[in-house]
Symmetry: C2
Amino acid sequence: MQMSVAELLQSENFLHDVTIKGWVRTFRANRFIALNDGSTINNIQCVVDFENTDENILKRITTGAAVSLSGTLVESQGKGQRVEIEVKNIEILGDSNPEEYPIQPKKHSFEFLRENAHLRVRTNTFSAVMRVRSALSFAVHKYFTENGFYNFHAPIITGSDAEGAGEMFRVTSMDPKNPATDENGEIDYSQDFFGKETNLTVSGQLEAETYAMALSKVYTFGPTFRAENSNTTRHLAEFWMIEPEVAFNDLDANMDLAEDFIKSVIKYILEHCKDDLVFLDERFTKEEQSKPQLERSDMSLLEKLNFVAENNFKRVTYTEAIDILRNCKPNKKKKFQYIINEWGADLQSEHERFLVEKHFKCPVILFDYPANIKAFYMRLNDDGKTVRAMDVLFPGIGEIVGGSQREERLDVLKEKIKALDIDEKELWWYLDLRKFGTAVHSGFGLGFERLVQFSTGMGNIRDVIPFPRTPQNAEF
Amino acid sequence: MQMSVAELLQSENFLHDVTIKGWVRTFRANRFIALNDGSTINNIQCVVDFENTDENILKRITTGAAVSLSGTLVESQGKGQRVEIEVKNIEILGDSNPEEYPIQPKKHSFEFLRENAHLRVRTNTFSAVMRVRSALSFAVHKYFTENGFYNFHAPIITGSDAEGAGEMFRVTSMDPKNPATDENGEIDYSQDFFGKETNLTVSGQLEAETYAMALSKVYTFGPTFRAENSNTTRHLAEFWMIEPEVAFNDLDANMDLAEDFIKSVIKYILEHCKDDLVFLDERFTKEEQSKPQLERSDMSLLEKLNFVAENNFKRVTYTEAIDILRNCKPNKKKKFQYIINEWGADLQSEHERFLVEKHFKCPVILFDYPANIKAFYMRLNDDGKTVRAMDVLFPGIGEIVGGSQREERLDVLKEKIKALDIDEKELWWYLDLRKFGTAVHSGFGLGFERLVQFSTGMGNIRDVIPFPRTPQNAEF
């Protein structure tokens, strides 16, 4: 019977005749193969009867080689494992020349592994990260499905350029050397594939609103894009975003949803990814120990995950946050790069981190931001100067969620659009939602890779997505 | 207590004080509101005490208006529903001017609704289609998760152009009027965002293979793109594709997986989308009745779904299929547009439909195709002229799955690449998989929208995705 490593390690039945296929992690003493097939972080020990095995076969059992082993599952005599395989037959499926194979059983730098992104998932760290990523992805779909949401696929190529969430990539099938032009020498997009200028989406929100205003509860989970020259550990040019949108939800209900959702998916991985998280927890702790005392995390990875799952997020208005920041030590001692002097200032990462990591020491939801630092579609409060925006801030990550109650009043929305010099015609369909059966509604966007970063303790966002896209990098 | 229409219609408790928010579908006799909130295809009847209701409120209860109704859930006295709401309080949330609202309670053409794609999901047909689409999407994730697969997000922007599955869209942030050029006047992509020419992916398969060769069982579910000028009812420029990839699976196991997977997701919607499928079944039957007798489907929608869920797919080699086609009536009578004369011919949609709909009358898996009509990465059979390719053909849809066992032998793969004039350097990472621990592996791609078409009985692929992208069309 062919079984996976995960199945064998959990098996209650010994003396099974089994076949197992996987890749050699290590081979020591010409006897002990540590075999892995990606089904779990753990290897299974396979004991070779080297005295009765062809030496030419033994030589080919090297790190990275693919093998098929048949034998008996027995209780292990050695320490460190409950079960092992007594190997009766070895078939080498694919060799791996140890002189050439880049992934050796030693610590490789993450920079080196990024250059070998096609092989890095064969390491413990990356296989654990990607299994947790996969589990988080399923937890997202499960949460929304169980709570009456419909999945909605927002368009990736968009002819709408009014959202203004960031710089966009152009999508075209025109000849770059000889693009069609009109009589004024301008690019004639009517001759491009879609008959107009098109870009890669920066958010599916506006389209998701059209579906929320019919199905009540919807969510998107798809790729989004920013053509920004940001070479940081927190930015990607291509990343996956989760965007729920709910009719009849006000901002309070929106905060409840964000908090409940995040707690639910964290609980899911705590329950389903124990082995991977224990491994990543140890890795995280070692990594933290190499940092200066002051920069170290107070909690281990597992402590952080449990903390988020079990504690309420602190909800604070922007105005309260400004008061705290204005009077805090780093502001008074001018330790912040951007000193907070007055209401209206845009918060920088350093301020968000102070609030979360030093002041409140828990996830924080900031809300009711000044209107002029937030997007046009956010609902204006009665004070006329703040909008019903919210950001969820996480320790070590900063902003993980940005959301709002949407402006549902046609006249107010039209004024906003006018003030921003956006052509109303561009948004005719978005305005229609306010003309026909408008209602209070809210939603948010959660950057999936930031959630994976938080959940796995990985410091660089490029290490939590299989093939990262960043400025000057689209290899593979 | 605020409840959804779906919850209320299933409620066992009467005399509930409830609040319900949704959109008016119809309002008749100044008394009966049919209210829908998208949680189900069914409306809830809400009975207004019109004698004690302000006439100005009554006037505003029009099709498409958003309302909040409070009242008591009671057993219905009338026919056609088990329960209804005795309305005590009406709040108009958002008006809908009946002179302007495009979605009236009458039959609209699909063409008209496509132009109003932001509102069409407020109709019975499109809300049913999109709920089934959402359920299918969840069924996909559920099937793979329960069967030990990891979800893998393939890159959308790709620097790799060797796959050759079709024409690609270019992704750029260069100024289209003044692109950077080199000394020879050629476009200098080193100055574009990614430092090289980049395109939208046509398939995540090659990248998925890198993950299968470490995690054993992976799948992608993401958007893919074709810049082809195909104005048909079966093609989109942007569509979602599901691509499982499994180490150690040969073509037989690949066929088993495809068949089991498709049956599983169909069974899921038969169980979870009963009301929507009953509605779509009636719609399908009506639509079929308007067709000439000869073109009508033998089965109703529900019969087709049950048939697929319960019957084995017929597995036939390409060579057998050619024999059948060469000797069939439409070929001999020259009724086919493309007459099948000899082995090696590429099968057209008319041939596939004949095999599925007339000859076998069930889903068919064709396999072992001639090498020269299939992609370079498919495993060459020992006959030296066929490859381990497979296509799953469905009635009414044609090809719904295309897959293969992959060429795992480095030398054979290199020869194929050379013969096609592909630069080996372009595929260095793909070849690495054959250098280091190679093994038999297989996978397939399933076009999600074709699955939704089949599952909902919709004739045009533009009507099963929220905002379709096709030549000359990227509105919304």
